[in-house]
């Protein structure tokens, strides 16, 4: 008798311990809590947690927003897999609104809720081409990679990519860009140098669709980058691991020039971690890349109505003012005349409406891989 009870309780224990690992989180269908997933750097986390979410809750009483943050998009692949799997299985992915680089990938795969003016009234103010490029993503802010330079040592910065390359060779050890796999600012420099040798048609193709056939045309640009190994910081073909390290190298005076994200640079300037003698400028022919950041509402989300209300609010002038004037200094996606003139004063000199787009993620992944096998340490 005793033995039987022991067996039963053991079986129960086994089942319980297994089920703890398997039990799926409870569905939140129709709830007023919007699950926001952010895959970005900490400045974007601050934008949502400290600025947008409190303002949204004040403007829309009754709604709550729960933010999940993934630093540098380390889990983009897993999250993409989770949302794809949820769509295939017709299950709620547990995420209602996504802010991250993989939104356009999801959009291209047809996994996003398509934004239309009927469902998102504020979208009428957003640039059509930028909206179309999102493939279902909702553009909500812009940023660009810029050339940062130390005004003490570089009174007049290079105006074109050719001038920049000449400057780098004339000043060994004074320029750097981070490894493309570690952050977008370094990636932008790599794509810009590679694009220098491509026709406009090829560039456009690489932005819009997966084009493995065009990748052989990168070799000339990659060779140019390899030759820079002897002239970039360290002069031994090593590069900073991520965006933050490039900013640190500029701030401490290790380098005089580097490529940086406009928003991260402005945030650092405001926070005082970037000295005032570092300034930014755009180069031309070709220019460094930039573009919109997109929000995505997974089509399988059961709470997409609430997510739409949040997305629509983010496109309102009130929210766009917060994005422009807060610590982020993002570019707005609606016309400047709808915004507070004081907040937009900082944009004189930078053309924020015509940003050169980065490659489609599949091509970008290949470029990162090719860079790693041909440039550093070679």
């Amino acid at each position: 008798m005793l033995k039987k009870t022991v067996w039963k309780s053991l079986a129960l224990a086994a089942v319980l311990s297994l089920s703890i690992g398997i039990t799926a989180p409870a569905s939140h269908a129709g709830s007023q809590t919007i699950q926001v997933y952010i895959s970005a750097d900490t400045n974007i986390q601050d934008l949502w947690v400290k600025t947008l979410v409190p303002a949204f809750k004040a403007a829309n009483p009754g709604y709550d927003v729960n933010v999940t943050f993934d630093l540098h998009g380390d889990h983009d692949a897993q999250e993409t897999a989770k949302i794809t799997a949820a769509a295939v299985l017709h299950k709620d992915p547990g995420v209602d609104l996504i802010d991250g680089g993989f939104v356009t990938t999801l959009g291209a795969a047809g996994l996003l809720y398509r934004p239309t003016a009927g469902l998102l009234p504020n979208i009428k103010d957003v640039n059509r081409t930028v909206l179309a490029a999102g493939k279902g993503g909702i553009p909500y802010r812009g940023s660009s990679v810029l050339l940062a330079y130390n005004t003490t040592n570089v009174p007049t910065p290079p105006k074109t990519l050719d001038e920049l390359l000449a400057w780098i060779k004339a000043h060994p050890g004074k320029f750097t860009y981070n490894a493309p796999s570690g952050g977008g600012s370094g990636y932008s420099f790599v794509q810009t140098v590679v694009d220098k040798y491509l026709s406009n048609a090829d560039r456009a193709t690489l932005v819009q669709q997966a084009a493995p056939d065009l990748e052989s045309k990168w070799s000339q640009g990659l060779e140019t980058l390899r030759q820079l190994n002897a002239y970039t910081y360290g002069q031994n073909g090593t590069y900073p691991a991520n965006n933050a390290e490039t900013l640190k190298d500029l701030a401490t005076g290790l380098v005089d020039m580097g490529t940086v994200w406009s928003d991260q640079f402005s945030s650092a300037l405001k926070a005082g971690t970037m000295p005032a003698n570092i300034k930014v400028a755009q180069i031309s022919n070709p220019s460094l890349t930039g573009g919109a950041s997109y929000l995505g509402i997974p089509s399988s989300s059961t709470n997409r109505t609430a997510a739409r209300i949040l997305a629509n609010w983010v496109l309102s002038p009130a929210a766009q003012n917060l994005i422009v004037s807060g610590t982020l200094n993002g570019f707005p996606v609606i016309p400047l005349n709808k915004l507070d003139p004081k907040a937009t004063a900082a944009f004189t000199g930078v053309d924020i409406q015509n940003l050169r787009a980065g490659y489609l993620s599949a091509n970008a992944n290949d470029l990162k891989s090719k860079w790693a096998s041909t440039v550093p340490g070679k």
Partner: protein
């Protein structure tokens, strides 16, 4: 047997019965065993089939998303992803660096661990204990913090370079080199090795050392013939744990190493995330897994040996 039993009875204790193979014991160990099988064993098996090009079933989703996916063309799969990895110009450099850093760091960690433990065992002073306590402190510092600290110490604008610059000496920048990975690995691995080895040394009876001293044995002989052989098992355990830890390290090589070649832990993450090549990253993971298994066999062998010596099995 009978006499033993009666002796026990005489002493008032209960009869000792031989342990029968019990299903209860098996059942008690079953839940954790099942957990390991289902949550560790099964994913490894599924991952292995994916690396061989099985893209259906549990591998369907990742096959939709990943790039450069090879689909099996034989009933057993395909080695195309393995061939990709072995023909990638990065891989041999990465493997070489990983093995070089693992072997060099492990040897240095064990040598330093031995030196400190032997010092503490032979010279039982307050200073020696303080030294061991100090050496264990890095155990309580998170790896990411220590990696950043080492980065700022040896970096281009770091303490060492700033210090030497005061005297007009240009000290080399060690960050972004294999040396920095070795320094970081030693920093993070040494405390555990010292804990293991010094506790092994503490268990050696004074009588043995005193007897050797009385016979006039020099210190070198005491170390080589008594201390090290008697602490062999903890030394092997420390070495295998250190080697496996360094083999799979990520934070230290990411922060302190060069972009390329890099250690396999970082390269696996690059292939999985940045380059979106899950199949190739799995292949590399299995290669690291194989190397770690080799070290694990050493560990198991040493455990069994010590259990036999002490009569436990």
């Amino acid at each position: 047997m009978i006499s033993l039993r009666s002796k026990n009875k005489e002493e008032g204790s209960r009869a000792v019965t031989r342990a029968r193979p019990s299903f209860l014991g098996l059942a008690l160990s079953l839940p954790p065993l099942l957990l390991v099988l289902i949550f560790v064993g099964l994913p490894i098996f599924i991952g292995f089939t994916f690396s061989l090009g099985f893209t259906k079933g549990p591998n369907r989703i990742i096959s939709i998303i990943g790039q450069q996916i090879h689909v099996k063309n034989h009933w057993w799969g395909t080695f195309a992803a393995y061939s990709d990895v072995f023909h990638d110009s990065r891989f041999l450099g990465d493997l070489g660096l990983t093995l070089f850093v693992t072997v060099l760091s492990t040897v240095l960690v064990i040598l330093m661990g031995l030196a400190i433990s032997i010092y503490q065992r032979l010279i039982r002073s307050k200073q020696a204990s303080v030294l061991v306590t100090l050496a264990i402190i890095p155990l309580f510092v998170p790896v990411v913090i220590s990696a950043w600290a080492i980065h700022t110490f040896y970096g281009g604008d770091g303490f060492l370079r700033s210090f030497f610059a005061q005297f007009g000496i240009s000290f080399p920048t060690l960050t972004s080199t294999a040396s920095a990975i070795v320094i970081g690995s030693i920093w993070t691995s040494l405390p555990f090795a010292i804990l293991m080895i010094s506790s092994g040394m503490q268990g050696i009876p004074d009588a043995l050392i005193d007897a050797a001293k009385d016979c006039g044995a020099p210190v070198a002989r005491i170390i080589g013939h008594i201390l090290i052989p008697l602490a062999k098992t903890p030394i092997i355990i420390a070495a295998s744990f250190t080697a496996i830890g360094i083999l799979g390290s990520f934070t230290i090589p990411l922060f302190l190493g060069p972009n390329q070649p890099t250690m396999l832990g970082v390269e696996i993450s690059n292939f999985f995330g940045s380059y979106n090549r899950p199949q190739q990253s799995l292949v590399m993971a299995f290669i690291v897994f194989l190397a770690a298994s080799g070290i694990a066999i050493l560990y198991v062998w040493s455990n069994i040996k010590s259990a036999k010596e002490s009569g436990r099995i």
